[in-house]
């Protein structure tokens, strides 16, 4: 178990190291950092002095070491457009993105598993076929188009839900939350559905395919031969076995939900990290871009680790074989 954990941790660090290298390369080489500080008519001698003071003439390894050190201390540099520390800018916006991603994942998992199970158990009904067709469209349509469609339906035409922003938020310590106000919760609905729809259709298709597979196995046939109730067979045995692989995929999806929120946040002007990132790309704000990249990688790697651990908890086969390998 421990060896397994250490191996996974090592892999995680490799990924983070590579992404760190890319982030550093962007930070250092994409455009001249000096240009971002000085005006166009600053004399060459002054530029050289600034170069030296920034350490841009040091050997690359030293520069990377310094960059890594700064990152580990939570210092991602100064944003070109806002002239503020990137860390503070990101910290201010993390809650909005995480709350959105959380709701989107909840929606995707809840509805996706429900629809997938329905499609597997009642595969020949009209509703199941409808779900299948809708899921294909859900997989095909670009996220921003779905967002616009939802805004048009629920904000413009019906006027039920807000089309942009987080509504009223409550500040608790350093965290702003939209969960505690009615307008905050209402504002979460459309963006969460938009963001979660793609993952929902994926999970639905996955659950359906996996469950159909499980229903064909010998142990389900044997469970029927044992005279268990349909309910026990479907939900006690088939569903549980279905969800083992689904957990992995769903966990990994959470990571991409956070990255995908770039688009949703832009459509709904949601004040999260994604919107900040898009503005950074538009305005060539490299420090924010590289910091965001590293942050997403870190979140992704963490989720991966958690999913691996969760997997060993759920599947007894893995638990002991891993234990024996250790």
């Amino acid at each position: 178990m421990l060896a397994f954990l250490i191996r996974r941790l090592a892999q995680a660090f490799v990924v983070l190291g590579v992404v760190g290298l890319i982030a550093f390369a962007m930070f250092r080489f994409a455009g001249d950092p000096v240009n971002q500080i000085v005006g166009p008519d600053t004399p060459v001698s002054e530029r050289a002095a600034i170069r030296k003071s920034l350490g841009l003439d040091d050997p690359m390894l030293v520069q990377f070491g310094r960059y890594a050190g700064n990152v580990l201390r939570g210092d991602f540099g100064i944003s070109y457009q806002f002239r503020q520390p990137v860390t503070a800018l990101l910290a201010e916006r993390i809650p909005a993105t995480l709350e959105l991603a959380f709701c989107a994942t909840l929606f995707a998992l809840g509805v996706g598993i429900l629809m997938g199970v329905y499609c597997a158990l009642k595969r020949d009904t009209v509703l199941a076929k409808l779900f299948q067709a809708v899921s294909l469209i859900g997989v095909s349509l670009p996220t921003f188009l779905i967002g616009i469609l939802l805004i048009f339906l629920f904000s413009v035409t019906l006027g039920w839900l807000p089309s942009y922003g987080r509504g009223d938020t409550v500040r608790i310590g350093g965290w702003t939350t939209g969960f505690l106000t009615v307008s905050g919760l209402k504002a979460l609905i459309l963006p969460s559905v938009t963001l979660g729809l793609y993952q929902m259709t994926l999970i639905m298709r996955l659950v359906r395919a996996e469950m159909l597979e499980v229903l064909r196995t010998d142990y389900i046939r044997f469970a029927r031969a044992r005279g268990l109730t349909t309910r026990a067979i479907h939900f006690g045995h088939a569903l549980k076995n279905t969800l083992v692989p689904v957990i992995t995929i769903a966990g990994l999806q959470l990571g991409s939900v956070i990255a995908f929120s770039i688009i949703t946040e832009t459509v709904f002007q949601w004040p999260g990290m994604g919107l900040l990132f898009v503005q950074a790309v538009q305005n060539v704000d490299i420090p924010i871009m590289s910091a965001y990249l590293l942050l997403v990688a870190a979140i992704f790697v963490t989720i991966n680790l958690v999913v691996d651990l969760l997997y060993t908890v759920v599947d007894p086969r893995l638990r002991t074989s891993v234990g024996r390998a250790a």
Binding site: V19, A30, L141, L145, F260, V281, V284
Partner: protein, 317 residues
């Protein structure tokens, strides 16, 4: 399955390609699937409309001289205030929506296809090299692929886009922008080709005919391209079809986010970005028609890709 497909080819070397195709399982499966046929017709129709656009629409939306503010904000022709020849209405610049949609469709298709070409070439090349050469090179390529899979393609494309803009300065002309987007897409989608090709190459490499080719003294690159590559065309073709849809979505998304094609040369994504501003003022047609065109295109291509995958590999569900 493979054998069955190959036998007729050996037996009738004189038969035309078309005759052989009409005899194939693929064609039979196509004839059976109504969805596939409908998707195919829709795709062909959209390609035709897009590329015939200059001859069938009243306006060149890229030419500012042809826009007339007097014709701005007209609704579609079936509404009371609708005016000929603006079938689907106009936007606030007096731009004809139908013209803009067809030109945008053409742009989206061109960028999408170029993107597929770049990512395919890159992925197939790297996959062949990784699978055939192996060793350290293989490890490096596949590690990079793993790390890249950590991020969604759109994020990679955005980063490539941003970095390029930082490196070349903000002033890029339209052609350079298109090239930049194509490269961004290419760098975002190569991994799947590389993985598929690599694993096929690993399988094929051990087979007798490759050993035989080596024995008669063919060089490694020749063996790879002439003998191994034809065996992976099926899966690569499926990936390319689905990737075309993804590439079009990626371009549209980049343009929608404002980092893609400019408003002077709008793609479907740019048009949706423009139209989105008018959603609340009631001019729904400015966003609706580009949206429908994009959705229709992507769904049709995806349906084709789905069918192709099932038809070429019945074992995959």
């Amino acid at each position: 399955m493979d054998d069955a497909a190959e036998v007729p080819e050996i037996r009738q070397p004189t038969g035309s390609r078309l005759a052989r195709f009409l005899d194939s399982d693929l064609w039979a499966s196509f004839r059976r699937s109504k969805t596939a046929m409908a998707a195919f017709v829709a795709t062909v129709l959209m390609f035709a409309l897009a590329f015939a656009a200059p001859w069938i629409v009243p306006q060149n939306p890229y030419d500012p001289a042809q826009l007339d503010l007097l014709n701005s904000n007209l609704p579609p022709i079936w509404k009371a205030e609708g005016q000929a020849p603006f079938l689907l209405g106009t936007d606030d610049q007096g731009r004809d929506v139908l013209s803009a949609v067809l030109y945008g469709l053409r742009l989206s298709l061109i960028v999408g296809m170029l993107g597929v070409l770049v990512s395919g070439t890159l992925g197939i090349g790297l996959g062949l090299v990784a699978g055939y050469v192996g060793g350290l090179l293989d490890t490096i390529i596949m590690r990079v692929a793993d790390v890249q899979l950590t991020f969604p393609a759109i994020l990679i494309a955005l980063v490539v886009d941003g970095v390029a803009k930082a490196s070349f300065g903000g002033a890029l002309d339209t052609n350079a922008t298109i090239l930049l987007i194509v490269v961004s897409i290419g760098l975002s989608f190569w991994v799947q080709y590389a993985r598929t090709v690599r694993s096929s190459v690993m399988v094929e490499r051990g087979k007798d005919y490759v050993q035989a080719a080596r024995l008669i003294g063919l060089s490694t690159p020749v063996i790879m391209v002439r003998h191994v590559l034809p065996n992976v065309t099926g899966p690569v073709f499926v990936i390319a079809t689905i990737n075309l849809a993804l590439a079009i979505i990626t371009e549209a998304t980049l343009s929608f986010l404002g980092t893609g094609l400019p408003e002077t040369m709008p793609s479907l994504g740019t048009l949706i970005r423009i139209g989105n501003k008018f959603l609340f003022s009631g001019e729904w047609w400015v966003v609706a028609f580009p949206g429908i065109a994009l959705a229709g295109l992507v769904i049709a291509i995806n349906l084709l890709g789905d069918w192709l995958r099932d038809a070429l590999n019945p074992k995959l569900q």
